[in-house]
């Protein structure tokens, strides 16, 4: 793809140079060297080399905050996605967090010969069925749980999601050799690996004859919904688990045990701005008796990103964004910060433990996924 094609596809030529993107951008707020407007301007001036070899290209969080503010509807995240593919094919990569272990793992996983044993955590307590036409897409939870030593507890999200689905009377199917959805590969420009993963997953799902897929990770959800149709064919209904819960509350009058807790909710970029799902998680939180739900200052479309996406260019600025968000959560008076994305939780936990020598502000707050809270509120209730 040439620069011209990218400009056409992302409608960059509509740019009015108003600079709204740079003023809303959470990265620009802390990193004065980064500006979406300058990036777009360089593209329009045809300065391809300058763009491709700019390390800041990988700093964008692809959080969609700029895109929602843009008066000319320039799709800046798409522009970044395509530019990164160009950069990646000329050998440029971002600064990969965790020394690139996650990206390397995904590339290894994309190998067709790989036979994973990713369902070791599954015990007899969960009901799954190989005949079911509802699929629960586990995602990378087993890997994250093994890799991070700071209580990321991503596997608990998978387990609690299964518990919830069982409670709703769904015995989902799990795929023993599903692979990473490829989100991080797509957003770091490794299109070839992404395609391989997408084709593998789509083939597995077609073979299984699945009609509906439920996700606990918004990144997988977004990738399946927005990006897979461009590369593979798959005919399934897609749903985030918070949507399934909200529907169950509305239609079947799903009720919960009281949980005494003051919580606030963090809109993840993928579930919120990318897919426009703001209400279902809030509906779920309000439905649990005893839960006092307070909002932070920046919510819904205005929500602040957790500071890193696709595990690239996680730097001091990312940390500052994270600290800002955590302070905001603490400032709301809540005891627990509820997230709906496993990666947001990983990044927040990371900001708390990796304080280093300098003593920053106290950002310690319990971070919990929405499914953890719901599973707690459903404990001991008879199944629906």
């Amino acid at each position: 793809m040439t620069l011209e094609d990218i400009i056409k596809e992302s409608k960059t030529f509509y740019c009015l140079e108003c600079g709204k993107c740079s003023s809303i951008c959470p990265v620009s707020r802390y990193d004065p060297a980064y500006s979406p407007r300058v990036m777009v301007e360089n593209a329009l001036l045809g300065l391809e080399d300058e763009l491709v070899h700019n390390k800041e290209l990988f700093s964008c969080l692809t959080c969609y905050a700029c895109q929602l503010k843009c008066p000319s509807d320039v799709d800046y995240p798409l522009f970044i996605q395509k530019m990164r593919a160009v950069a990646s094919s000329s050998g440029e990569t971002g600064q990969c967090a965790h020394s690139g272990v996650l990206h390397s793992l995904i590339r290894l996983m994309a190998n067709p010969a790989v036979k994973q044993s990713r369902l070791e955590w599954l015990s007899d307590g969960y009901r799954t069925s190989d005949q079911s036409d509802v699929l629960f897409f586990v995602g990378c939870a087993p890997y994250f749980d093994q890799l991070f030593d700071f209580e990321a507890k991503t596997l608990d999200i998978a387990k609690d999601s299964l518990r919830i689905l069982n409670h709703l009377g769904i015995e989902p199917r799990l795929l023993p050799n599903e692979k990473c959805c490829g989100h991080d590969m797509l957003w770091t420009g490794d299109i070839e690996t992404f395609k391989r993963l997408a084709e593998h997953n789509a083939a597995l799902i077609r073979e299984a004859g699945v009609k509906k897929i439920i996700f606990s990770c918004p990144e997988c959800y977004r990738t399946f919904k927005e990006d897979y149709p461009k590369y593979v064919t798959m005919d399934c209904e897609l749903q985030h688990i918070s949507e399934s819960l909200a529907a169950a509350i509305e239609k079947d009058g799903l009720s919960f045990n009281p949980v005494k807790m003051k919580v606030t909710y963090h809109d993840s970029c993928r579930l919120g701005r990318h897919l426009g799902i703001y209400e279902p998680p809030r509906q779920v939180l309000r439905a649990i008796p005893g839960v006092e739900f307070v909002e932070m200052k920046q919510v819904r479309e205005e929500s602040l990103c957790c500071g890193t996406s696709a595990f690239t260019n996680c730097d001091l600025y990312s940390k500052q964004i994270r600290v800002e968000r955590l302070l905001e959560a603490k400032g709301s008076g809540a005891e627990v910060l509820i997230t709906s994305c496993p990666k947001c939780r990983i990044h927040f936990r990371c900001a708390m433990v990796s304080k280093g020598e300098e003593k920053g502000p106290d950002v310690e707050i319990e971070v919990s996924d929405i499914v953890n809270l719901v599973a707690k509120a459903l404990e001991g209730k008879p199944n629906e």
């Binding site: 020394s99 690139g100 272990v101 390397s104 793992l105 590339r107 290894l108 996983m109 190998n111 067709p112 010969a113 790989v114 036979k115 994973q116 044993s117 990713r118 070791e120 087993p142 890997y143 093994q146 890799l147 030593d149």
Partner: protein
Amino acid sequence: MNEFEPLVLAFCCNWCTYVSADVIGTSRIQYPHNVRIVRVMCSGMVDPIYILRAFEAGIDGVLVCGCHYVDCHYINGPLKCDAMFNRLKGLVNILGLEDERLRRKMVAASEGLGFVAIVEETVDQLKKLGPSPFKKARKEAIA
């Protein structure tokens, strides 16, 4: 010619295992030629990414060798190595990699014959296992 010759990458600590491998060389003791040694200053500095990259590049097995706990030149390197290794082992196990392909051993400077035994054992096991699953597809990709 037809027998599969695995390629093993060995990360050896400068103070113990590398010295022992050196002694083996100067003593003219024979051991399998399948091993490629990378000298590192301490087994505690081996990052998971070195190992994953090696597998990506098509290495059949990786050995991480360093000092015994009490011998470390940097006080607690082997403990750091243990922590790294256990986490990585868990990850590659989920990926479906066989246990024999990734091993961690402690070899002191005086245990040259021990190093030979470890290399021989690893190469034997890898010959039985065949090429790494990551390698096969890499070859296909090149072809």
